[in-house]
Symmetry: C2
């Protein structure tokens, strides 16, 4: 049960430095490396995090900032999945985290973070403009954004390509022969709201289809989906692409109440592929985005950023997947 590099070195008949090198990827003769690795393995050595941090000038703790109202934060599976991904990845690398959940004002949170000796932060920010993000970036604090894009190219972020995914979904609807395809967007001051709308618009224009009057702005809730759909149904849409699954659920309800059928009269598509989407009647066609993966990836990206700061900003776009179900392709549903 060797506890220190020193002891390992003795067991492997090498110096501390060599052991440290094999641990951190220095250049070591293959034979020596193998010997050290076997000792490493047999002793179940775990490096002392505090010592490592001290020597390398880090704190070993990164911040996780989700500055949201408690209701939003914990009612939306999006954040919960993000949490799992981030927490899991960090725990895996034995790095601690500090949570900043909006218990205070953004200014207060920002100044605390900057003083907190954190190595870096993972920040969720769904709004196009966010003072906390601005402040963080302005101070050159190592940060990885989730669900946030910026015009400039200085920020590191992890996201999905909302525009491309929305375009793909809209194209799917078009390929089914639908022509009056409405869109219920999220708030246009959010990244997802704006970008998914842009994707819809792009696909529609490319196909030469009308877009005028076919957009309603919602707020990601079932209620807003219901209201928006009620209005759009009156405008004779034959398909609805909704900004998220919850909105789509509300829209399907409205369509049903209007005496129309899904998908026969109006096809409906969502975004997220939350668990309930597959259990709707009919099951919802939607875009699957691996939220937990986004969290995990963001943590990894931050750790890389810290390991190699010279590498410049990292921009990671995770893939999405079209999940085609009966809400667009029919399939003998009785409803």
């Amino acid at each position: 049960m060797a506890r220190t590099l020193e002891e390992l070195a003795e067991l492997a008949q090498v110096s501390r430095s060599t052991v440290s090198r094999v641990l951190n990827g220095g250049s070591v003769k293959a034979e020596t490396r193998a010997r050290v690795l076997s000792v490493l393995e047999s002793t179940g050595y775990r490096p002392n995090v505090a010592a490592r941090n001290l020597a390398s000038g880090r704190s070993g703790v990164v911040g996780v900032v989700m500055h949201e109202a408690p209701g939003v934060l914990f009612h939306d599976p999006y954040f919960s999945l993000l949490f799992r991904g981030i927490g899991d990845a960090l725990a895996d690398q034995a790095v601690g985290m500090m949570l900043w959940l909006g218990n205070r004002t953004k200014e207060e949170t920002l100044s605390r973070i900057l003083r907190s000796h954190l190595d870096g932060v993972v920040v969720t920010a769904n709004n196009l403009s966010d003072s906390l993000v601005d402040g963080l970036l302005a101070s050159n604090f190592p940060a990885v954004l989730i669900g946030h894009r910026r015009a400039d190219r200085t920020a590191s972020y992890v996201d999905v390509d909302h525009v491309a995914a929305a375009d793909a979904m809209t194209s799917h609807l078009i390929s089914l022969g639908r022509a009056r395809i409405g869109h219920i967007s999220g708030p246009r001051w959010t990244v997802a709201g704006e970008d998914r709308h842009a994707g819809w618009l792009r696909a529609m224009r490319r196909a030469g289809l009308p877009t005028q009057g076919l957009t309603e702005e919602g707020d990601y809730t079932e209620a807003s989906g219901y209201a928006a759909a009620s209005s759009l149904v009156g405008k004779g849409v034959d398909a609805l692409f909704c900004a998220n699954d919850r909105t789509a659920a509300g829209a399907m309800e409205a369509i049903r109440h209007a005496g129309r059928r899904v998908p026969d009269d109006i096809a409906v598509a969502g975004f997220d592929d939350l668990e309930f989407a597959a259990r709707l009647d009919p099951p919802l066609t939607t875009v699957r985005q691996g939220v937990e993966d986004q969290g995990r990836e963001a943590a990894h990206t931050l750790l890389q950023l810290l390991t190699d700061p010279a590498g410049g900003p990292r921009r990671v776009l995770l893939p999405t997947e079209l999940v085609i179900r009966q809400s667009t392709v029919g399939g003998g549903s009785a409803s």
Copy 2:
């Protein structure tokens, strides 16, 4: 902008050790202390966490274990509030945390925690028996439990006195002249389910009231409240004490559907005082427990435990508060 003890020492014309002493509460001459403190203040010094941890043999990171299914974990405001409290308190003390949210099996989680060089853990465990808790305690790992009581006196925990609170609420109903008071409990293998039931039973027996056939076991959901209440209404209850607010909401629904009125025919009380409780019709009488405070207190307790391990296990019972609203005392509601 002094960064190290050394620099501070120079500024204050004392030695490193003296500065360290005023920081950690050693004995220092008042005059000297004042001088050091003023330097401390003016420089905005922040100790290097890594160095401190290394010197004192800690890791500076504590675990937060909420081994629950994602649905439960993030749909229940209980956990979200706990999170805020714990995270806030830890961030305040500049200590990091590592999240263990049940991404793996309990065995895997346990073994990882034990190898993770964590200083201690805060664990939520609502079940009377939990293998993760057992394993943690068996290995003498510094731990503070939340919402978990144990027969033995070796564990540290933070909780509210469910029995006393349930007794108080039941007594409130009794004082209103109600005599056939039913109880819809949580699952009896949970601490809250068992203890709140015990409190109800205690109050009823003390008052010499009947309890036979007046209990139904629910599972904290609205649906179970509805079902249980439907059954109990048939048994002629004139009051219902429910294990939590959600159950109470379901119960009120059932009572209304049965053509009875709240509170005129049947008084209803809940437990938790979640946000929606006050907005029910009629507003719900319930027991307020400061969940966020429990989280904050648990974090503090753990830090104390780590600072002074000789102090033995800490047991903290936080106060609860009876919140009397119209669901028990009437008050001119038209419904």
